[in-house]
Symmetry: C2
Subunit: 687 residues, 2 copies
């Protein structure tokens, strides 16, 4: 298993490096070596002083390189155009690669992995091609500046790695169950690598991705997540030995009164989640059902163009989304020079390094507020249209960005209120003049948690991931309050998170472990055949000919057939898989002498007694599953649903006193659950 | 649910306060108010300076109070005697209370809670009396200075609270499943309160205690654990706003070369775990089977006396175990004045507050090493005899103490080696003279994790609990390395942790989810009746009289009987519980007219056709379970074990083509598993 962690870490490192380089390529190029990113270019240059890290002669913007101008309107327009062109090129390459080589590489992959872990098989979804193309296109789309993240797709990449390496060992390749355990662990490692949060990764795998999570998997996932996090740190391509994606350190505690804005952020997160899921699903449904879906390349090109055109003028949308989040989470220290930290300092005061008291906002902060407001609206709208296009796209980062922007704005608002109105009753108890009471970065973090929670409905894993980012139990209550509020608000408008909504939209046969089934229906109400329908297609143990069975197989498309003693007694003896029946008949016809269409097929241990001149009978007991799962017709559906979930069944036979009455498949269960929830059962398509 | 968290937090607070007071009562008494502990007494006194916090005139040792002597041999002996007397008094009170009022209050309670959560019912185990007596006696035994902790029993107390409050709401009291979910959450809250580690608590409940842990429970447990941790902090009786039990902050990172001693500590932890489990189980078995078990009070008195006599002279065993651990975990800062921090300072150096370079050890450190070595041997021996006595006793603290002592000693050793031999090849790369390279406190923490892991075989939860104590991802690799090594070493000598070993010893019917069953036996090999045994006791649906059934009930002690169509066809129609049968017959005989011994009992929907003069038949369909769980005789036992575990079954009927062949109970499964593991199946007793 260490191989697949190494594979994942290498890929994650390569993705990080390549994204850095290509994102900067949209702005300019390094003269000393074109494969250096802006930061690397200036770090390796000797002419750079520490203060001017960002500006060095070796790094040339496109306008400098092409027309030798670095300022002025024409230079700006040239840079703008180059930015758009590169974005379009990256996006076009990505969508073409996905279309041509690996259609499964699109999306975040988490809905499909959830479905696979619940027992459904999607061939090729975790294949080598998907792995390769997803990695390459992920770099391209993230660099193109589209509103999407690489964290969700990294889970898919991790699962592909896990699947690839487990297929090399016969222990795993032959046992579906064991393979799924490896995938659960891989998903944990994926999140662990994405955020540097090993415990959060394990809980994410447990809460969001996995279907069945035995203790052994818990242990393995934890091990995989830890090794992955630390391997990535040791092969760190940046050399800054950060373990977590957005490391922050705050210097002040939070106060009870701040819970109010935190809960407001939770409400915002819940509303954003609802809005996003509704609009995104509506748009995706339109894509599936109208002509829109026929032009995926054009769609990507148009969305990329619009994103690039709107994003460039605003510094907060031009920079990469993870940089934006990082900046928003940050506490304004004394050395901070960004626009967001442009506060008016008291000239009489010496500047301590930490623990700066609240200060009035300067011009920069007010400008930033406007730009952030515009960025917020832009991100909200564009993310809805981006997620679900035929390119790899994750939701974690855009959701967190929306929340972080809203949170930071609320935080600055509260900070300025507290500074200017120390005497208000709500501030008087905890915020004295000259104290550092409000940390806007904390608000950004709480907002990010709330929005991510609203979209995905994660709870424990969300809080733990965010808690691992800060590394202190101190802020767990604000995060918790926001996560709970956000989940409650979002659940009030609809129980489904974005992943379940996409599973539903795509019609995957996924039996959610979270839904409770409390209706009082019985197995007899759900089983097929219904009253008035033709009787169940069954095989008898010793009276059907090969031809009979071939006709049955041709006329139906069932996955298997129950085998009964005889049509009269209908006593069940086993279950035969369609695939194995076809194979057995084919083999027998080719290789076994005397097998003709008239041969009797028998599932008993001894061949039936036949007239002397009858053809050679065909023995099929070895393909008979002698322990098919049965329930009685009086079994409450609550129990049946529970059994389907816990044992991961695909079908279950219904009997009464040993007589076969019918069959319940997973799809029947899903349709029945939809019906009971007052949804149209036909809305559940299975493709 | 908030009530039970509040109940738990209040009890935990009261226990903390009372233990503090009573532990100090063994040494002396506060003159201003006898209910003050030493610390409180001196804090409230005005005459105390900050430096002399520990010495104040209001606090009088027994020798000062009784014979007005504070120094000298006679004062020492008097204090010694008073210490022993108080210890004996507390222990005697505790064991008597447990014996008289609540025998279930003894032990840690975790094996029993595991069993209860797996579906077995132990009446009164989570009752009000157990709660009350366990709380009171827990204070007494911890104060008596016995080598035991309060953390394990706190989990039991938490479950009692949860059970009590859930019995008030009909939603929980009527549904065993929901009740068990509450208990899982309560267990998480218990650990959370004990260590201040909410995430660790949740994972402990998931990994060690719970049997079935759906996502809803995860979420609830997390909420309960968080609320519990923060409620305890806000009602904190000490006013030091600590959240975790042993909060530590280290100033130096760890180095790769240190992994070697960490792994050695892991090996030590594994060996200690094996030794402890073997010896403790052997001793407990002897207690169960010989005359020793008849004198529980005497046993407690003797062990307490021996503990007190040996513990008093050594300062590291005299102080309470949690204080000891706290001191061992601590990094030696500049202000530290304890014996363990008696290093020789370089007089030419100014003393910085943190980040003190490695220094040569002083006399105090060498004395401490001797005393710690003696304390280690003492703790190892006495804990083996203490755990399992008829008093509440937890294992976390004693195990951690053993590990912390060993770890600190190794840590000091490595530190001095590194100081005196900077030039050795193993130190040269990372430990320059004048640097602070080795933190002995970290070794103590790693040792504690290793020993706790060796005894309980916890993995993820252990690492997370320890990680929450330090609050930094930095030290997760050393902890992990030690935990894994310790588990491997201990598993090499026997797969069972201490809780499973005690479950086994007590013969609880517990089907461990961790054991894999890979043998190729079939249901037919395990079911009763075996070949040659009398046929299964069954009821027929419409041909047995009330008298027949009463005889059957009298002659057997089965929990229930399968109901078949007739003795000839043996087609199964349902299952009737013994308890409900008895009740139904009793009620019918008392209240229904015409029911006599000759009445026919029928389970069909319509009464059978009877001769005209026959007595009134008795209708019993409503007590018939029409959906008993069945498997075919060809079902592999691997599947059967899986079904028993996942669905929490107590029995399962075996059929072939609808004909009833036999029954498999949970006990049959357990016996079969023991047999397959080459154990004597009769060694599994069920009491």
């Amino acid at each position: 298993m260490l191989e697949s962690i190494l594979c994942l870490c290498t890929l994650a490192g390569v993705i990080d490096l390549a994204v850095d380089w290509m994102t900067d390529l949209k702005e300019g190029v390094c003269l000393s070596a074109f494969w250096y990113s802006h930061e690397q270019c200036c770090w390796t240059s000797n002419e750079t002083t520490f203060e001017d890290r960002d500006k060095c002669p070796l790094w040339q913007k496109w306008s400098e390189l092409l027309v030798n101008q670095s300022e002025g309107a024409s230079a700006y327009i040239l840079n703008y155009l180059m930015y758009i062109l590169w974005a379009l090129l990256f996006a076009f390459l990505a969508v073409s690669l996905v279309r041509v080589f690996a259609p499964y590489a699109c999306g975040s992959g988490i809905p499909e992995i959830k479905t696979i872990l619940s027992g459904f098989i999607i061939r090729g979804y975790l294949g080598k091609w998907t792995l390769l193309i997803k990695t390459v296109t992920l770099v391209l789309v993230v660099s193109s500046g589209l509103s999407l993240g690489k964290e969700g797709p990294l889970v898919h990449v991790a699962c592909c790695c896990g699947n690839f390496f487990s297929s090399l060992f016969s222990k795993y390749s032959k046992n579906e169950g064991k393979r799924r355990e490896v995938l659960s662990a891989a998903a944990a490692a994926g999140v662990s690598v994405a955020f540097g949060a090993p415990i959060g990764g394990v809980l994410f795998s447990l809460e969001e991705v996995s279907y069945y999570f035995p203790l052994k998997t818990l242990w393995r996932s934890f091990f995989a997540a830890l090794v992955a996090a630390f391997t990535l740190r040791s092969i760190n391509p940046f050399g800054n030995s950060r373990l977590v994606l957005f490391y922050v350190e705050y210097h002040t505690p939070w106060y009870m009164a701040e819970l109010f804005p935190f809960i407001l952020l939770g409400v915002f997160g819940g509303l954003w989640g609802t809005l996003f899921i509704r609009c995104n699903i509506a748009w995706c449904r339109r894509r599936k059902t109208t002509r829109l879906g026929k032009y995926p390349v054009l769609e990507v090109i148009v969305v990329t163009a619009i994103t690039a055109i709107i994003a460039y003028p605003n510094p907060y949308t031009r920079q990469s989304t993870s940089e934006l989040i990082s900046e928003l989470f940050n506490d304004c220290g004394a050395l901070e020079s960004s626009q967001l930290c442009d506060y008016i300092n008291d000239p009489n005061m010496t500047r301590p390094v930490d623990d700066i008291p609240d200060r009035p906002a300067g011009v920069g902060v007010y400008t930033a507020m406007w730009q952030l407001a515009l960025a917020l609206i832009f991100k909200i709208v564009v993310t809805i249209f981006t997620f679900g296009m035929k390119i790899p796209s994750g939701l974690f980062i855009p959701s967190m960005a929306v929340g972080a922007i809203a949170g930071r704005m609320v935080g600055i608002g509260v900070e300025q209120l507290a500074y200017h109105h120390h005497d208000w009753i709500i501030f008087r108890n905890w915020c004295r003049p000259g104290a550092d009471c409000v940390t806007p970065g904390l608000y950004a973090m709480v907002g990010a948690a709330a929005c991510l929670g609203g979209v995905t409905r994660m709870t424990v894993s969300l809080v733990v991931i965010m808690f691992e980012l800060t590394g202190g139990l101190e802020y767990i209550v604000p995060l918790m309050a926001a996560a709970v509020t956000s989940k409650w608000v979002a659940d009030a408008f609809g129980k489904e998170g974005i992943y379940e909504a996409h599973i539903h939209l795509n019609g995957y046969p996924f039996l959610d472990v979270k839904d409770e089934f409390t209706h009082r229906t019985l197995a007899t109400d759900v089983m097929r055949p219904r009253r008035g329908e033709p009787p169940l297609s069954v095989l008898t143990q010793d009276s059907m000919t090969v031809e009979d069975v071939e006709t049955l197989i041709k006329e139906t498309d069932y996955n298997g057939f129950p085998v009964v003693v005889s049509r009269d007694s209908e006593r069940l003896i086993g279950f035969a898989q369609r695939r194995e029946l076809i194979l057995a008949i084919k083999n027998a016809r080719q290789r076994q002498e005397g097998i003709v269409s008239n041969s009797i097929m028998y599932f008993t241990e001894e061949p039936p007694e036949l007239p002397a001149n009858s053809p050679h009978p065909l023995k099929l007991r070895r393909i008979l599953n002698l322990s098919p799962f049965t329930v009685t017709d009086h079994t409450p559906m609550e129990t049946v649903v529970d059994i389907f979930r816990k044992l991961g069944l695909r079908q279950c036979l219904v009997t009464r006193s040993g007589r076969l009455l019918g069959i319940i498949t997973k799809k029947d269960v899903l349709r029945h659950m939809a019906q009971m929830a007052n949804q149209d059962p036909e809305s559940i398509m299975f493709n």
